[in-house]
Subunit: 252 residues, 4 copies
């Protein structure tokens, strides 16, 4: 259904798995309309012709810079989940948007709102607790252990603990088996479970005298980035210039 | 061990169960020293004689106002977990501290840091999720269901959802048994489990497309208020005047 | 890959969503080979022509009886997840297999191994605990609350408690909100959570002095019946006659 | 309250922490009566004089054998949680009870019913799942990692997997940090969390296509052995001779 004041949204790579999920999300939301999908061999001018306001780009490092140059030049906002943004690329995008006031570009490595909130809450909670550990649990086809998110979460906790000047965590372990206590990231123990049937899950555990606080994030399927993309689409018009990280739009 | 720059802390009701736990906490912390305990029939002047800087009061509504009048008048900070603070009482304490610049009084209904953080995080997360429910789990001797904390948490979530203009939560339930979907607080379903072996636990569940976020708080024993009391003791000297709620000292 | 001693498996309704998952499972398992799929308008004789040993039937109550009559008559084992088996239908199938010694038919309402084990363990554990409650958590498109599995689990627990002559569960709840304590199935409280992002999950909680035991089952996607179907396929050749319920093949 | 047909129970070491909890449990149960406590320097004949039927012994390896010789000789059943039972000691006790038909002795290393059930269920479930891992979580004063119970649970799972001829667990981990994947007991990964605020907790996770099963045991305080002791007290009269392990009385 097309509604007058809805945000007009185009999608790059709309026929891929990720693109299809984004198109479906845009079509299902009450305040966004899908205009056009542009895939390999299609012309970017379709976005201009369709009066598209925001384009979502989850494509490939090889093509994303060309896409962004075109979109910004044509006054179209962009919400970007494509990877490979080096400092040089970021600087280049910043230059483009500076030359085109009013246009917004969001580049974010992670659109899963639950993961972003988990990390934010972990960072806030860390300084109040004696102990902190991270358990991440994934499907057994995952190559790295711990996960990037778990490693990053542990770094944030370790930094918050250091800044607050907390004492070292108590740990009387004196005998045992190698690896039982997990990997260390800063002073935070991180444990990686690999289990058939799981998708992507993480628990951050905090403890102090007589109580614990656990922040758990469960990704049940591969479309969990869609609500975050829609959040970016809704906010980008009000945030001209370059923004890095979806958390910037979340007023946390 | 007495250290020169440690905070000198006295305890009202030091021989009761709660008081004993506070004394033990003050003695165990590296930056606080226990000065003196004052119980029924003891004189409050012991706090003055012992050069006490902060007094902790977990006593009774019948005596707490007399205690506070004395402490403020004598330039001693107070950290108060006693209940029964009506608007009138709050106003009276505010008057006393206004007359004695530099003295701080903290009055808080809840010193469990994990519970305070749970509520804060729930409030922050609520506007990003399609659905939210609360499950609280307690020992079977508890008289009220849901717990006060669960009810308050659900109210905060409902208010945050309303403020963000979220759509009603999806729920296709059309057949079933009375009570299966729990109690409603605002638009938030709340479930109360009563189980032998449990102490006091709460889960706040948030869900959106493909992912969930769970914030769980477990109180394992009755001393879980001690770290919060110590936090209050450390901060009160830097917060003259009346403060209501420990979260005010947590920079959240 | 076709291996000499592998079990030769055909699939009814092979082009439907469920059928496709079963075909994929049969093809992926090292000890089973997929022979042929038979869908609407195809002839059942394809199973005979392909020398199929076991046929899996997840079709429709309207056609399953015709399928079974043909399969048993032709000496082909059947593993059946189709619903609608009344006592009359069961009796009819029993008659067919009695006339054809050596042929096995398994009819089961539930092929999720984790759900079957959850119920079995709950039944075993119930008599050792003072308290028991059930929490089931599902996607918000579910029509019934509590779920059929949760209701059945609670019935099994209530029956085990009654048989063991346990005292009533302690519960001091005297004030509160309607529904907070959930629905009652026998003497077991059952709570139903409906949350976007969830699939199908259940927790059975048991408690006694100082300890709790929790049995949690998570179905993450709609293919969780496949391992149970493969278990049925492997066992049916060694279990001639009619078997009702996959647990009969699990030696619990 | 003393009731005619109640079991008359005496307690060795009744003034210690553990003994006090046992006395309180015996007094609170509706079907047992506490007769007498015998501590250091008291005479064992108090059990005979008080017509005690069952004595509970949670004392010390140095004295337990003398206690048992006396109890068996006097026709009194014994429920024993004291440690240090070597094969020689077991053989000696077996000799004593053989000479005194009708008298029962239970010796058990673990009286936490939830822990016993967890291990039993883990053993039963193991052969049905592609993957299994164990997470144990304890207070930070614990010296060994993993816990003895976690190690034993992993051994039981590994043995059940081997007996069922399961394929190796899938695990694509190729890069990461040392220890992230935990310790290996047989082919089962075991993870140890040490966190302030925790007591003693364990999760056994099983996974297969699309589903997981989790068995979680939480010991919230040090009295969680009491229900198991009472179970032993109730059953010992009907089980003459020597029994090793409380699970023998649980008909699992």
């Amino acid at each position: 259904m097309t509604v007058a004041d809805n945000i007009r949204v185009g999608v790059l790579g709309s026929r891929g798995k990720v693109g299809q999920a984004i198109v479906a999300g845009v079509e299902a939301a009450p305040d966004t309309d899908f205009t056009v999908g542009v895939d390999k061999d299609d012309s970017l001018s379709a976005f201009v012709d369709s009066d598209t306001a925001v384009v979502v780009d989850f494509t490939h490092p090889d093509v994303v810079m060309g896409n962004l140059e075109f979109l910004v030049a044509n006054g179209i906002h962009a919400v970007v989940g494509t990877t490979g943004f080096t400092a040089e690329r970021i600087a280049q995008v910043r230059e483009w948007v500076a030359a085109k006031p009013g246009v917004g570009v969001l580049i974010a490595p992670n659109f899963a709102i639950g993961a972003i909130l988990s990390m934010h809450f972990a960072q806030q909670a860390a300084r109040f607790f004696t102990s902190a550990e991270v358990i991440e649990l994934h499907h057994p086809a995952k190559a790295d252990a711990p996960s990037g998110t778990a490693g990053r979460t542990a770094e944030l906790i370790a930094a918050a603990r250091a800044e607050a000047g907390l004492a070292p965590m108590p740990d009387a372990t004196s005998t045992g088996l190698d690896g039982a206590r997990g990997a260390l990231v800063g002073d935070v123990h991180v444990h990686s479970v690999r289990l058939a049937g799981l998708v992507a899950h993480q628990e951050v555990l905090f403890g102090t005298q007589g109580e614990t606080l656990t922040i758990r994030h469960d990704s049940m399927d591969r479309t969990s980035f869609v609500p975050g993309v829609l959040l970016g689409v809704r906010e980008i018009g009000g945030h001209p210039g370059l923004t890095v990280g979806l958390d910037q739009f979340m007023n946390l």
